[in-house]
């Protein structure tokens, strides 16, 4: 077994390996779906299967699956919405009918270790899907899709709302938390039969007073949960960085985060809930590194303080932006990878103390994943 990296990009799925010694640069070992838009990738450590979500634009969203690293890809059914009732009233922010069709796969995760075939898939325009058979079939989670509060969701980063973060609780696979842009944090404790929009303390400074603290209006850019301490959740929010110590019931905003508390991505150490990484940018409408200095920030004390990590990251002005799935932490917690919208990809094997750039300029990176294969 050796650590590998998958990078889902605007123009294909890139597999990277380290050739030779531990210090050797990461190189492209394989390219699949070259020139196609790969919005998401998932490697299932339980089965070894790898899943890729493609967005062909004209031809719609397609799912592909490989049974193992390097194996041939097969197209499998994509999550599909049920027939839209004649009397459906859901409308987007502009009053247009919400399409009941999969626009983008924006979140893809495995179920728990006790449910080996289970996958969860979050989509635009806001539907959550579950597969019980390794992606051979998908079912929409009707109770969430039919929840009247779903109609209050708005686009966040896209015209339509979407589910981008899916955290299956390591204590009970029936408990699943979602991050929605924009719809805050949603949780089920019965495998999807019932849902609630939970959590107080997140706020958005751009909203009118009545909506500032509305849990269903929060733009949680990315939600992660510490596997070894599952009550600890981190959110990189549109308005800053938030931490929960009670599994999402309450949220506390981190203060004095330099160079910025704005960003999209967050990763948490799998065993140390106080250690988390972020990729900061100038907030809101600018979305570029502060002063052109591309850095990663790290806290080791639960957000009381943050370090700026830059060794091995570009010294010259760089305007790389890292999307919400563009940062991953390995199962050991030692390895980090970040991939940017300008095609940079950097890897660290010492928790971010130093970084090395992969030997390739990639297309815009949407998602990165470590794979132990």
């Amino acid at each position: 077994m050796a650590l590998k990296i998958l990078a889902a990009t605007r123009k294909g799925l890139f597999a990277l390996e380290r050739t030779g010694t531990r210090d050797a640069p990461w190189q492209v070992a394989a390219i699949d779906f070259l020139a196609d838009n790969v919005s998401m990738v998932l490697a299932d450590p339980r089965s070894g299967h790898i899943y890729a979500a493609l967005d062909h634009g004209h031809f719609g969203v397609k799912m592909h699956k490989a049974e193992a690293w390097g194996a041939e890809w097969t197209e499998t059914p994509a999550p599909a919405y049920p027939p839209k009732p004649e009397d459906a009233t859901d409308k987007d922010m502009w009053g247009n009918p919400i399409p009941w069709t999969t626009i983008r796969v924006w979140g893809l995760e495995t179920g728990g270790p006790n449910e080996p075939g289970v996958l969860w898939c979050g989509t635009l325009p806001g539907g959550l899907f579950r597969s019980a058979d390794h992606g051979a079939t998908w079912e929409i989670i009707e109770p969430l899709w039919r929840d009247p509060k779903r109609l209050e969701w708005m686009g966040g980063g896209a015209d339509l709302p979407g589910i981008h973060s899916i955290c299956v609780d390591p204590r009970a696979s029936s408990t699943v938390r979602l991050g929605v842009s924009t719809g805050g944090i949603w949780v089920t404790r019965d495998s999807g039969a019932t849902w609630s929009n939970e959590g107080t303390g997140m706020w958005q400074d751009h909203a009118p007073e009545e909506h500032k603290f509305n849990p269903n209006g929060q733009d949680a850019h990315r939600l992660v949960q510490c596997p070894a301490a599952p009550d600890r959740l981190w959110v990189q929010h549109h308005n800053g960085i938030f931490r929960s110590d009670d599994a999402g019931q309450t949220w506390k905003e981190m203060e004095n985060v330099k160079p910025s508390s704005f960003g999209f991505a967050v990763g948490v150490h799998p065993r140390d809930p106080d250690t988390a990484w972020f990729v900061p940018g100038i907030k809101d409408e600018r979305r570029i590194p502060v002063n052109g200095e591309f850095v990663v920030t790290r806290t080791r004390d639960g957000g009381k303080t943050f370090e700026t990590l830059s060794k091995g990251l570009p010294r010259e002005p760089a305007y790389d932006l890292v999307y919400r799935h563009g940062l991953d932490v390995s199962a050991s917690g030692n390895d980090l990878v970040v991939g940017s919208t300008t095609g940079g990809l950097w890897v660290s094997d010492n928790q971010g103390d130093s970084w090395s750039q992969a030997g390739v300029r990639l297309p815009p990176v949407y998602a990165v994943r470590f794979v132990d294969a």
Binding site: G57, H58, F59, G60, K84, P99, W100
Partner: protein, 89 residues
């Protein structure tokens, strides 16, 4: 029988040779074509069986307007041409 032709761009992703199938409307013809080649269906139609946003269907050179019902009539000699719209990039 009406003849269904798929654009070259589709063939990069999926095998879709021309098909000759029976039917009186675009919907009839496409249903018959997708019965023969089921995989191509989701490349042309969305989850609601409407024409995908950035796809266009021509019948004998005229672009169809009923993109949800696909109700336009066809003749036994019609040519149904399915192509990607440049609106999709």
């Amino acid at each position: 029988m009406p003849r269904v032709i798929f654009a070259q761009a589709l063939k990069r992703h999926i095998a879709c040779p021309p098909l000759e199938v029976a039917g009186a409307s675009v919907r009839d013809v496409l249903d018959a074509a997708f019965a023969i080649n089921p995989r191509v269906r989701s490349y042309v139609l969305d989850d609601q069986s409407h024409v995908r946003k950035h796809m266009i269907i021509f019948v004998d050179g005229r672009m169809i307007r009923d993109r949800t019902g696909l109700s336009e009539l066809v003749t036994p000699t019609s040519e149904i041409y399915i192509v990607q719209a440049l609106s999709g990039g």
